[in-house]
Symmetry: C2
Subunit: 202 residues, 2 copies
DNA sequence: TAACTAGTTGACCGGTTGGTCTAAAGTTAC
DNA sequence: GTAACTTTAGACCAACCGGTCAACTAGTTA
């Protein structure tokens, strides 16, 4: 009964931790290895190149955020309250990271998107897809909200994009200010976007 | 009448171009130098360290964005229309960058904020301040809007933060999708935030 | 013309980067 | 026991990193 997890898993875990905090370029293969107590030869036994472990990091973080979204959406509350719940859960997430490291890391997917989208076209395509998925999840919830008459009926896709963009922006601000609470304090903005403009009196 | 601009200016211009596109870590001093047709010795004659030219890049980009904001706000239109105008000008900006390079670079300040805020505390402070300034500019406009009865009166600071966060988020999306037009298409969201929730019927 | 200064040049530094390779050590199956 | 295969190990590589430095050029002032 050996507890020792295998080297591959340890490497991935190590890369996730480091890249969440510092991004891709700022983390070296050596750093990932020594943090995982694995020597470099083993790293290149499991991963053809540094890029390949980035894929694992993206996959893991995407899974985490998807679960966060579904946790928010599973709650037995109104659709709009579910959207607010996303911000609350994101807030808790950032808060727990901050307790552990003293710093707000922000959204790993968002961070890597900005870092890699310009130079690395394949990476950009991946991020484009992932971000689109999140927006799609929000779209569904907006549709529910319209069905219930909570918000006026209109095309759902751009509103979902707007809400997701807003989420990313607030996370950016929370990182710059090192203040996770911003996510809760500014959650209202997402609801405003969902409601849309006050219809002019007719 | 020699046209040759001095090396210092060329270095800064080169650093701006490169770091706008690729960020800080991904651009090397050598790259900045060769792109500016200046040898490394000269670089370190003008700048004690790489970090010091980053300061110039930040300064220049901040100036650019401040001018963009004031250009939007100087227009002879309603305060809310001014806020929408920020998105339109940002759209034009990204569009022109895209025509030149084929890629949306996003907001240099936002990019560098995410890249450097975690590891480099002094940098984070600088970005915190700059981002706060932009929000303050929006605050003023919101106050005008309230004075005119365009939107309901309530504390202005969080709304300004929300609108600015939204701007950053939309730019992130525009970069991921390589679609500057998103900035115009989603500009409505900012107006929704400014209006706030539809007051519940009392 | 001599002295001084601002700017230029490129060789050079120690350290690190992503990545390779060969040899040994475990592990498994027959 | 041994053959076959997976995993570990770390020395090694060229390339590049940010940064230094002494020698040099050119323009200005005394």
């Amino acid at each position: 009964m050996v507890i020792k997890t295998n080297a591959r898993e340890r490497l991935i875990k190590s890369a996730i931790e480091l890249m969440m905090a510092k991004g891709y370029h700022a983390v070296s293969v050596n750093e990932i290895c020594s943090h995982a107590h694995v020597v470099k030869g083993s790293f290149y036994h499991y991963f053809p190149a540094k890029w390949d472990i980035l894929r694992e990091v993206i996959k893991a973080r995407d899974k985490f955020y998807q679960e966060l979204f579904y946790r928010a959406l599973a709650a037995d509350i109104s659709p709009l309250a579910k959207i607010r719940r996303i911000f609350e859960l994101a807030c808790q997430d950032q808060q727990s990271v901050m307790e552990a490291t003293g710093k707000v890391t922000g959204c790993t997917i968002g961070n890597l998107t900005l870092e890699l989208s310009y130079a690395d076209e394949p990476a950009r395509q991946i991020f484009r897809q992932l971000l689109g998925n999140y927006a799609a999840i929000i779209s569904q919830t907006l549709k529910q909200s319209m069905d219930m008459g909570e918000i006026p009926r209109r095309p759902v896709a751009p509103i979902a994009q707007a809400i997701f963009a807003y989420l990313q922006g607030v996370i950016l601000l929370a990182k710059a200010e090192n203040k996770p609470q911003l996510l809760e304090q500014l959650a209202d903005g997402a609801i405003s976007i969902a409601h849309g403009l006050k219809e002019d009196p007719s």
